[in-house]
Amino acid sequence: MGKSFSTYETAWCPGCGNFSILKCLKTALEELGKDPHEVLVAAGIGQAAKTPQYISANTFCGLHGRSLPAAAAAKIANEGLTVIVNTGDGDSYGEGGNHFIHAIRRNVNIAHFVHNNQIYGLTKGQSSPTTSLGHTTNAQAYGNINHPLNPVLLAISAGAGFVARSFCGDQKHLVAMMKEAISYKGYALVDILQNCISFNKVNTFAWYRDRVYYLEDDYDPSDKIKAMERAMEFGDRIPIGILYREERPDYHEMNRILAGREPLVDQVRDPGTVRELMLELV
């Protein structure tokens, strides 16, 4: 313990939910005793995706929507890195929706923190895949007619082993969820309800605060059907906590080249291999 992560001046709007998410990320990493030099914070593009810019760690800010494959591959290359993806709902569920589903299937040991403000912040307020029906924006001038996606339900049904939901306004809870997700072995999703003060006037800080409630102490996150029922609650009441959790082998344990070996980046190949492969072709 005792390693500290620095954070830097941000370009976010005062009152934006991203501030507390950044703060919680720093706290979670510090409480887990992580060394900043062994942490990789990755993101795509968006307001949330600026998170890596504001924390002292290794960082990878790739393309809009494409951070999951890059982050997973970085982890495949070097198991020694703690890999966290901090990015937006548009980035994760819209532009990168296909990668989201397949990151779940691939089950590489990374944590995915989605700053879900139900809007495209960086591009000034168009609807995102989680924007509610009827929500008017500059690009949905007569209200959003596309049904919102339920990311936690989708994740559970797609086979994710760790699915949680939290709220930027409950820092204690968010830190706990982040720590659990980072410690979980495999792909872990935390969908973080985040207010966007500038562009989402529907799902405000108060809107979320008045609706979120903790999953009960005796809630059993290993019951998938129950988990899906609770994941569907998104209205007057929104449960937060670990919705679903299941232990199973991650990508590294399943992969013949990685399982039980040193990180790929450190593996040294037998120089005779290429000759052997050539001889097979003679």
Binding site: T59, L63, P69, A77, G80, H99
Partner: protein
């Protein structure tokens, strides 16, 4: 030199028959070059493969056939015009069509032996006998192609075929039995492994899929993680992510997948993360002709992605290039921290050739530009004279490795400063000055005192080589050719010198718009006088080039 065609419908087992035959010819000492022509279907249609073999180097397919092994009548009708005067047709006795043929009751005998699928082995036995090749070679090879329980019956079948015919062509010797028989795609995979590839991600797409299949099967031995991505966007972003984390990484696809990778080429460019991308070209646009060949992605590879950043494009000319140039691509990508695009195509990727075991001492050693030394003040994008900033591996020491697709300053922090932007754009483009110094000039083929100069690139190398040989032995004019491997940036020294000597210059390309000629014009002002273009999805042969060029010259009164 002999040339035989094996043809039939998809699903009739041509692939196995040809794989065993080509290996048996090679084991008997011959140089072998097999060209594969597929239709994009799993059953039916017409597929054929042409095996050309002899006691000297062969660089191109040929349409003049010594024999046709027809698994159906259609094969005979489509190809019999290409049969040489004393050529033969070999087929099953059930093919009653009106043509002379060596008919063997293959289907009946196979049934009698207890398995209709061994008919192919009967034809293998017969073909080997016709060309005076010992049957033992095929027996040996069957071990690798046929399940253990079926080997005996296949051998019996081959023996029956062998005994059914007489020797027709003498064995002309040849010293190639210890050479490899390798496809262009396999050679790319092997070159990558030799360069230290550790991560390959791809989405299946003909004709690039054999690369991922080879790496999947042999990855365990070679220590390569082969991951099938959900799409080509993921494939290239994975390769870039793995490369960022310090392992050599590659992705491969054909034009459609390459189109999806375009944005990420720019990510590699601006974030200065090395990546090698193989585009095994097929005819476009869109889905085009999925299993056929073309060289129409040259301009696309050079210009793909928004903005400006350094890159290199290397075209593979042969089964040697496929290995050595792929290995070199990693060296260049690492050294200059940028994308290197390798252009291959279906013709080269799927055809197999006899190749000497590759010389591993010719594989460039890892560029010494990665460091893991502690450095609290490390600047990932430090401005330098040559544009290259020291690369470090994240997680290996006390420093932070940043990467950003936004414009950034030396530390990697995003910025909109006009000055930083200028400096960073200049820094990145300066790397190309180094690349230009290491460019390999095109290979010159032919007569040093040529009148006519041919220019080409990539897989037309072999056919052009054969064409120049034919032309120089026939006409009164003398011919030379330049075939480009390194193609972007375009090496211009040898081209400028040779063009100055040429009476006429013709570009030979497997596309409709003469993309190389356009590039040459743009970079050197040299204008080609005429062109031979082919864009029907079928590779041009040496004979076809020679023939078309002679006609063209005659028309022009030369």
């Amino acid at each position: 030199m002999y040339n035989i065609l094996v043809g039939g419908a998809a699903g009739q087992g041509i692939d196995t028959t040809v794989s065993i035959l080509e290996k048996a010819f090679k084991k008997s000492g011959y140089f072998v070059y097999t060209f594969r022509d597929f239709m994009s279907r799993i059953r039916g249609g017409h597929n054929f493969m042409v095996i050309r073999f002899g006691n000297e180097e062969i660089t191109s397919h040929s349409s003049k056939l010594d024999g046709i092994i027809a698994l159906n009548e259609e094969t005979v009708y489509i190809h019999r015009d290409n049969l040489k005067k004393d050529g033969f047709i070999l087929c099953d006795s059930s093919l009653k069509g009106d043509f002379d043929a060596i008919r063997i009751p293959m289907a009946d005998k196979a049934k009698e032996l207890g398995n209709p699928r061994v008919a192919g082995s009967i034809s293998i036995g017969a073909v080997l006998k016709l060309f005076s090749v010992e049957l033992e070679y095929a027996f040996d090879i069957m071990k690798d192609h046929i399940k253990k329980d079926y080997i005996e019956i296949n051998r019996e079948a081959a023996r029956f075929g062998y005994d059914s015919v007489e020797c027709r062509y003498p064995h002309t010797g040849g010293g190639y039995k210890d050479y490899m028989l390798i496809s262009g795609n396999q050679a790319v995979a092997l070159g990558a492994i030799a360069a230290g590839l550790k991560f390959y991600s791809a989405y299946p797409m003909s004709p690039a899929t054999p690369i991922m299949e080879y790496l999947s099967r042999h990855g365990v031995k070679a220590g390569v993680v082969m991951e099938q991505a959900e799409d080509e966007i993921a494939a290239i972003n994975m390769a870039i992510g793995a490369s960022y984390a310090g392992v050599r990484a590659m992705t491969g696809t054909s034009g459609g997948g390459f189109s999806l990778m375009v944005e990420a080429l720019g990510l590699s460019g601006i974030a200065e993360i090395p990546v090698v991308v193989v585009n095994v070209q097929r005819p476009g646009p869109a889905t085009g002709l999925p299993t056929r060949t073309e060289q129409a992605d040259l301009r696309f590879a050079i210009h793909a992605s928004q903005g400006e950043f350094p890159r290199m494009v290397i075209a593979l000319r042969s089964h040697e290039d496929a290995f050595y140039q792929t290995a070199r691509a990693f060296h260049i990508a690492d050294k200059y921290q940028m994308p290197v695009i390798i252009l291959s195509d279906q013709y080269l990727g799927d055809s197999t050739s006899t190749v000497q075991m590759y010389d591993l001492s010719r594989v460039p050693s890892t560029a010494p530009l990665v460091s893991c030394e502690d450095d609290e003040g490390y600047l990932r994008y430090r401005i330098t004279d040559d544009g290259i900033s020291l690369r470090k591996i994240p997680g290996k020491g006390k420093y932070f490795v940043t990467a950003d697709s936004d414009e950034h300053d030396e530390s990697g922090a995003i910025t909109e400063s006009a000055e930083v932007r200028r400096n960073m754009a200049d820094k990145r483009m300066r790397k190309l000055e180094g690349v230009v110094k290491e460019l390999q000039e095109p290979e010159f083929i032919g007569d040093e005192n040529f009148d006519i100069l041919l220019v080409g690139w990539e897989s037309t190398y072999g056919p052009i080589k054969e064409a120049v040989k034919i032309l120089n032995s026939e006409g009164s004019q003398k011919y030379g050719a330049l075939v480009f491997g390194d193609i972007y940036p375009l090496p211009t020294k040898l081209l400028t010198a040779k063009a100055a000597m040429a009476k006429k210059i013709y570009n030979i390309e497997q596309n409709a718009t003469g993309q190389l000629a356009g590039l040459i014009m743009e970079m050197t002002g040299i204008k080609c006088d005429g062109c031979i273009l082919k864009y029907d999805g079928r590779q041009i042969s040496g004979e076809e080039i020679a023939d078309r060029l002679q006609k063209l010259l005659r028309k022009e009164g030369l």
